[in-house]
C-alpha cells in the first residue's frame, strides 16, 4: 500500500531520474517469477498495439500546413474520391475473380466425383467414390490450409473480427498487407472448392479492407514499390477511414448490398464518423457492386443484363405467394427465438472448440492436419447422408446443377444430394426457391443437424473462410422444415410457402450467430431485393439477438476475446464509476527530457521488458510555491518518431557541425510509415550516445491529459471518442504521474459476477 506522500515521491523520482528509478523499483518490489497459466478468455495480449488516430500537431505539421495552400487541400479531397473509386473497382474485380475461379474449380470437382459415383453405382464399389471425394476435398483443403498456416496465419477465418479490431483502433500485425490479401483470396477459393462448410462472403470484407489500405498508401512495402502518390494519406488516421470504405465495399460485393455495406462499417467499426466519410464510403460500395455486376454479366454472356449484383444472390422474392400477412409476424418472431437459441448453442460449442484449439492445436502442422480431417469428414458425412437417403425427386424441371441418381429410379435424383453435393451458396438458393415438395422433411432435418455440427466444427480452422453462408444454410434448412410442418399443420394453406420461411430461418440463424442488427437487416433486405421483407427480418434479427445475448456473446466478439485483443466497446462497464484514473493508469512512466541524451533514448527504446510506444516529454523548472524542482509535462513523443530521429541522426551537436544538413520534414516520417525499423537495426556509435537530441520540434506539444481523480467512464469516453493511444495522467502541478493506454482500459469488463479485471499476458 502506498500512502499519498510516498506515491508523490515516486512520481517525483520518476521525473527526475528515470534510470535510477526503475532500478530502485525493481529492488523494492522483488520481481515475481513469470507466472504461467493456460490460455483463457480473461487475458489481454501484449502483442496488440493501438493505432495512432490522434494527429501529432508538432511544429513540422504546422509548417507543412502553412506551406500547403488552399488549392492543394482541394486536390487532397479529390484524391480521396479517386481512391474510393479505385477501392470499389478493385474489390469488385477481386470478388469476380473469386467467384469465377470457385465456380469453375468446384464444377470440375463435382463433375469428376459425379462421373465416378455414376460409374460405381452400376458396377459396385461405391466406397472408392467415397474415398475419391474425401481425398479430393482433403488435398484441396490441405493446400489452402498450408498457405494460411505457414505463410500468413492472420488470413485464417473470416477476417471480420480482425477488421472489427482494426477499425476499433487495434493494430493487428500483418492484417492489411498485400501478402495477406493474396493468401486470403487463394485460401478462400481452396476452402470453398475443398467442400468445407464455409462461404466466400466474409473474407471479401477483409479483402476489401486490405485493398483499401494498400491503395490509399500508394505503395506496397511487400513488393518494395512506391508509386509516389497519395503520400498525404500515410498515417493511421487516413488509412483507417479508407479501410472502413474497403470493408463496406467488400460487404457490398459479397451480398450486392451497398447500403448494407455502409451500415456494416458504421455498426462494426468506424468509430469516427462524419457525413462526408459516409458519402465516400457509400460511393465505394456502389462502385464495388456495380463493377462486380457488370463483369459477371459479361462473363455469363448477357452483358447488358446486370443481374448478378453480389457473390450470393438470394434470387427474386417477388411472387404472389412470397408475400406475408400480419398474422404471420408472431410466427416469424418465434423463428427468431429459435434462431437465437440455436445461434447461442453454435457459439457455445465453438467457444469450447476454439479454446481447445488455442491450447492444444497451436502448431501449424497440426492445424493443417485438422483442416484436412475436417474436409475428409465433411465429404464422408455428405456421402453417407446421400447414400442413406431414399428421398428421390423427378429431375425434370428442377434446377439441380449436379444431379446424383445413385439408387433412385431413372429420371430422378437424390434430393439430399442437392443440399450436400453442391457449393453452399447454391444450396442456400435452392432451399429458398425450390418449389414446395422438393425436400422431404426427414432429409431437411438430417441435413440441418449434420450441417450445424460441421459448420460449428469448421469455423476457427486455419483456413480462410466465412461463417455467413453456413449460417444461412443451416437457417434456411430448418426454416424450410418449419414451413413444411406449418403447411402440414394448416392442411396446406397457400400462405405457408416454405421458401419464405427458409429466408426467415436463415436470417434468424445468422442473427443468432453473429448478432449484427441494423446492417444485417439491410444486407438481407438488399440481397432479397424486397423492401417489404425489411420489417419481418428486423423483428427476426432483433429477437434472435435478444435471446442469444441472454446466453452467450456473438461469435465475432467471442473470437476477439479469445484472441486476447484489447478491444474497447462503446461504453465503459456500467458499474465502474468508483474507479479513478489513479487506479487505472500504469505507473511509473518512463519520461524523456526535452533535450535528452541519445544514449538514454536508445537504452529506453531497446529495453525489452518495457515495450512502450509513447513517452511524455518533461522539463524541470524551479517550483515557485515550494522549494525544489517540478518536472512539468511539455509534450508527448512516439517511439516511431524517436526511431526516425535516431535514424536520421538529428542530434544537437550534428546540427551545429553541419548547417547544410537538410531539416527533417514530415515526409520523412511518412516514408517510414507503417513499418518503422526496430531499434536494433539502428546503429548508434559510442560517440553519438553522448550527443543530445532536441525533441521540442517533434513532440506533440498538447497531449490530452486527465487529472488523477477522473473516473474510469470519463477517461474511457475521452479515450474512445478521440481514438487516443496515450492519455497522460497528471497531478495538479502538471507532473506526470501515470499513463493510460488501451490495455489499461480494456481490462475492465462486466462479467457474470460484476466487474472483472483481465490480466496481461505475453502470447
Amino acid at each position: 500500500q502506498l500512502t499519498p506522500s510516498s506515491f508523490l515521491r515516486i512520481g517525483q523520482l520518476s521525473n527526475v531520474d528515470l534510470n535510477e528509478d526503475t532500478h530502485e523499483l525493481e529492488t523494492e518490489v522483488p520481481r515475481q517469477r513469470p507466472n504461467e497459466i493456460p490460455h483463457n478468455e480473461k487475458l489481454l495480449s501484449l502483442k496488440y498495439e493501438s493505432l495512432d488516430y490522434d494527429n501529432s500537431e508538432n511544429q513540422l505539421f504546422l509548417e507543412e500546413e502553412r506551406r500547403i495552400n488552399h488549392a492543394a487541400f482541394r486536390t487532397v479531397e479529390i484524391k480521396r474520391w479517386v481512391i474510393c473509386a479505385m477501392i470499389g473497382i478493385l474489390t469488385g474485380l477481386v470478388a469476380c475473380f473469386i467467384d469465377i475461379v470457385v465456380e469453375n474449380l468446384a464444377g470440375l470437382k463435382y463433375r469428376v466425383v459425379k462421373d465416378n459415383i455414376d460409374k460405381f453405382t452400376a458396377k459396385g464399389g461405391l466406397s472408392f467414390s467415397l474415398l475419391l471425394w474425401a481425398t479430393l476435398n482433403a488435398s484441396v483443403v490441405m493446400v489452402g490450409s498450408l498457405i494460411v498456416a505457414f505463410i500468413e496465419p492472420v488470413a485464417a477465418g473470416s477476417g471480420i473480427p480482425q477488421i472489427k479490431c482494426y477499425l476499433n483502433g487495434v493494430k493487428i500485425p500483418h492484417v492489411v498487407r498485400l501478402k495477406t490479401l493474396v493468401i486470403k483470396v487463394c485460401g478462400v477459393i481452396l476452402s470453398v472448392v475443398g467442400g468445407l462448410a464455409v462461404g466466400k462472403e466474409g473474407p471479401m470484407i477483409h479483402s476489401g479492407s486490405v485493398i483499401a489500405a494498400g491503395i490509399s498508401q500508394g505503395r506496397s512495402t511487400s513488393l518494395k514499390r512506391d508509386f509516389k502518390i497519395f503520400e498525404y494519406f500515410r498515417r493511421d488516421t487516413e488509412k483507417r477511414d479508407f479501410v472502413s470504405a474497403g470493408a463496406a465495399a467488400g460487404v457490398s460485393a459479397a451480398f450486392g448490398a451497398p447500403v448494407g455495406g455502409v451500415l456494416f462499417s458504421l455498426e462494426e467499426g468506424a468509430s469516427f464518423w462524419n457525413q462526408f466519410l459516409t458519402w465516400r464510403i457509400f460511393f465505394a460500395s456502389m462502385i464495388s457492386t456495380f463493377t462486380l455486376n457488370s463483369v459477371l454479366s459479361v462473363y455469363h454472356g448477357n452483358a447488358w443484363d446486370l443481374s448478378s449484383p453480389g457473390l450470393i444472390n438470394f434470387g427474386r422474392f417477388d411472387s404472389e405467394k412470397m408475400g406475408y400477412t400480419i398474422q404471420e409476424i408472431p410466427i416469424f418472431i418465434f423463428m427468431g427465438v429459435v434462431g437465437g437459441i440455436l445461434g447461442a448453442l453454435f457459439n457455445a460449442l465453438n467457444y469450447w472448440l476454439t479454446m481447445f484449439r488455442i491450447r492444444y492445436i497451436h502448431r501449424p502442422c497440426l492445424q493443417v492436419v485438422e483442416a484436412m480431417l475436417v474436409a475428409a469428414v465433411t465429404a464422408t458425412v455428405g456421402f453417407v447422408m446421400i447414400y442413406c437417403s431414399r428421398d428421390c425427386q423427378p429431375i425434370q424441371g428442377s434446377s439441380v446443377a449436379y444431379p446424383l441418381q445413385l439408387f433412385c429410379a431413372d429420371g430422378e435424383y437424390n434430393s439430399m444430394a442437392t443440399a450436400f453435393f453442391n457449393t453452399p451458396e447454391k444450396s442456400v438458393v435452392n432451399l429458398f426457391h425450390d418449389p414446395p415438395g422438393s425436400y422431404n422433411p426427414m432429409t431437411l432435418g438430417m441435413f440441418t443437424l449434420m450441417y450445424f455440427f460441421l459448420a460449428c466444427w469448421t469455423y476457427g480452422l486455419t483456413v480462410s473462410a466465412g461463417v455467413f453462408i453456413p449460417s444461412l444454410l443451416i437457417g434456411a434448412a430448418w426454416g424450410r422444415l418449419f414451413g413444411i410442418s406449418l403447411s402440414y399443420l394448416t392442411k396446406g394453406s397457400i400462405w405457408a410457402d416454405p421458401g419464405k420461411y427458409a429466408l426467415m430461418g436463415a436470417a434468424a440463424q445468422l442473427g443468432g450467430i453473429v448478432r449484427m442488427t441494423l446492417s444485417l437487416t439491410v444486407i438481407m433486405m438488399e440481397a432479397t431485393g424486397n423492401v417489404t421483407y425489411g420489417f419481418p427480418i428486423m423483428l427476426v434479427l432483433m429477437t434472435a439477438k435478444i435471446v442469444g445475448d441472454y446466453f452467450v456473446e456473438g461469435l465475432y466478439d467471442m473470437h476477439i476475446q479469445l484472441q486476447s485483443v484489447p478491444f474497447l466497446h462503446w461504453e465503459a462497464p456500467v458499474t465502474s464509476h468508483s474507479l479513478t484514473a489513479r487506479e487505472v493508469m500504469s505507473t511509473p512512466v518512463t519520461c524523456l527530457r526535452r533535450i535528452e541524451r541519445v544514449g538514454t533514448v536508445v537504452d529506453i527504446l531497446s529495453d525489452t521488458s518495457s515495450n512502450h510506444n509513447g513517452f511524455p516529454v518533461v522539463e524541470s523548472n524551479p517550483d515557485t510555491t515550494q522549494a525544489g524542482w517540478v518536472a512539468g509535462l511539455r509534450g508527448l513523443i512516439l517511439r516511431s518518431q524517436l526511431i526516425v530521429l535516431l535514424k536520421h541522426k538529428v542530434f544537437v551537436e550534428r546540427a551545429n557541425l553541419s548547417l547544410v544538413q537538410r531539416r527533417l520534414k514530415l515526409k520523412d516520417f511518412r516514408d517510414a510509415y507503417p513499418r518503422f525499423p526496430p531499434i536494433q537495426s539502428i546503429h548508434v556509435s559510442q560517440d553519438e550516445r553522448e550527443c543530445m537530441i532536441d525533441l521540442s520540434e517533434f513532440m506533440n506539444p498538447s497531449p490530452y491529459t486527465v487529472p488523477q481523480e477522473a473516473s474510469l467512464p470519463r477517461v474511457f469516453k475521452l479515450f474512445r471518442a478521440l481514438g487516443l493511444r496515450h492519455l497522460v495522467v497528471v497531478d495538479n502541478r502538471n507532473e506526470v504521474v501515470g499513463m493510460v493506454t488501451r490495455k489499461d482500459l480494456a481490462r475492465y469488463r462486466l462479467g457474470k459476477e460484476g466487474l472483472e479485471e483481465l490480466s496481461l499476458a505475453q502470447t
Binding site: 502506498l2 497459466i37 490460455h39 487475458l43 453405382t121 425434370q396 431413372d410 429420371g411 468508483s578 460484476g754
Partner: protein, 309 residues
C-alpha cells in the same frame, strides 16, 4: 373519325352471292366454320343493317374459313394424341398448314382497294382478336412441347435421331411385352427379374441414347427452353423409365453397404484419434502473465466486486 375500313363498301347482296358461291363450291360437306359464316351473314341481312356496314371481302372470308378449319383439325389432332404424347409426330402436318393459313391472313391484301387488307379486318378489328389468340395458343403449345427439337430443320417429318430413338423405344416395349407374356397375369412385383435381365440391353441403349440426345441439346441450345427435348421423346422415355424402375423394379439395388460403412467409419474415427492424441501429447500452450506497473491501492478488484455484489 371513321375508321379506314369504312372506305370499302361491298354491297351486301353481292356479298351474299359470293357466300352462296363459296358454299356451293364447298359442296355438300359444309364445314361448321362456313356454316357459321353463312349464319352470320344471314343474321346481318335480317337485321337490316345499313349498306355501308364494313364487312369482310370474300377473299378474306375464305381465308378465315380456312383458318377455322385448320385450327379445328389441329385441335382435334392435339386432343387425340394427348396421352400417350404423340403430338410432334402426329400433328406437325396440321400445325404447318395452320401456320401457312395464318401467314396468308397476315399477308393477304384485298383486291378491291389498296388500303384494305385482310390482316387488318380479321386480326385487329375487335377487342377479342380471336384469330390471334388461337394462333398464339397453338404456337405456345408447340413451343412448350419443344417439337422443333425432334423435327427436321424444314419441319417436314421427324429428324433422324428421333426416328432412331422411337425405333429403340418400340423395340424395348416389344421386349417388355414379349418377356411378360410367358408369365401369368397376376404377377407379384418381385417376379419381373426376367424382364430386367432380358431387356437390360435394349433399355440401356435407349437410356444412353436419350442421355446423349439431352447432352447434345444442352450444348447446342442456349435458352432455358431448349434445355428440353421434344415432348414425345421425353414422354416415351418417362413411360419406359417408370415401367422399368417402378413397375418392374429394375433400378439398381442399394449395394456396397459394408465397404461404405467401413470406409466412412474409418474416416470418422480419424478426428477422434487426432484430438485425443493432440490432447495427450501436445504440450499445452501456456501464457506468461505480465505484472502491470500499477499503484497497488485498496480499491483493487476484490473490493470492487464486494462493493457491487
Amino acid at each position: 373519325m371513321a375508321p379506314p375500313r369504312c372506305l370499302c363498301r361491298a354491297p351486301l347482296p353481292a356479298l351474299a352471292l359470293a357466300l352462296l358461291g363459296l358454299a356451293a363450291a364447298a359442296g355438300p360437306r359444309q364445314t361448321p366454320a362456313l356454316e357459321l359464316a353463312q349464319e352470320l351473314a344471314e343474321e346481318l341481312w335480317s337485321a337490316g343493317l345499313p349498306g355501308d356496314l364494313p364487312e369482310l371481302e370474300p377473299e378474306c372470308r375464305s381465308l378465315l374459313a380456312a383458318f377455322a378449319e385448320g385450327s379445328a383439325a389441329l385441335t382435334d389432332c392435339l386432343g387425340r394424341r394427348a396421352r400417350p404424347v404423340r403430338l410432334c409426330q402426329g400433328c406437325h402436318g396440321p400445325y404447318r398448314r395452320l401456320l401457312a393459313q395464318y401467314g396468308s391472313i397476315a399477308r393477304a391484301v384485298g383486291n378491291s382497294s389498296e388500303s384494305h387488307n385482310c390482316a387488318k379486318s380479321i386480326l385487329t378489328s375487335d377487342r377479342l382478336q380471336i384469330v390471334v389468340t388461337l394462333s398464339e395458343f397453338f404456337n405456345e403449345t408447340w413451343e412448350a412441347a419443344n417439337c422443333a427439337n425432334c423435327l427436321k430443320n424444314n419441319s417436314e417429318g421427324l429428324s433422324n435421331s428421333t426416328e432412331e430413338f422411337l425405333d429403340l423405344f418400340n423395340k424395348s416395349l416389344t421386349c417388355f411385352e414379349h418377356n411378360l407374356q410367358g408369365q401369368g397375369i397376376d404377377l407379384s412385383p418381385n417376379n419381373y427379374t426376367e424382364v430386367c435381365k432380358n431387356c437390360n440391353e435394349t433399355y440401356t441403349k435407349l437410356n444412353d441414347l436419350y442421355n446423349h440426345l439431352q447432352r447434345l441439346n444442352r450444348q447446342g441450345g442456349e435458352s432455358a427452353h431448349s434445355a428440353h427435348l421434344c415432348i414425345d421423346v421425353e414422354d416415351a422415355m418417362n413411360i419406359t423409365r417408370k415401367l422399368w424402375s417402378r413397375t418392374f423394379n429394375c433400378s439398381l439395388p442399394c449395394s456396397d453397404t459394408v465397404p461404405v460403412i467401413a470406409v466412412s467409419s474409418f474416416i470418422l474415427f480419424l478426428p477422434i484419434v487426432f484430438y485425443l492424441s493432440s490432447f495427450l501429447h501436445s504440450k499445452q500452450k501456456k501464457r506468461i502473465l505480465i505484472l502491470p506497473k500499477r499503484i497497488q491501492s485498496n480499491a483493487n478488484l476484490v473490493n470492487i466486486q464486494e462493493k457491487y455484489s
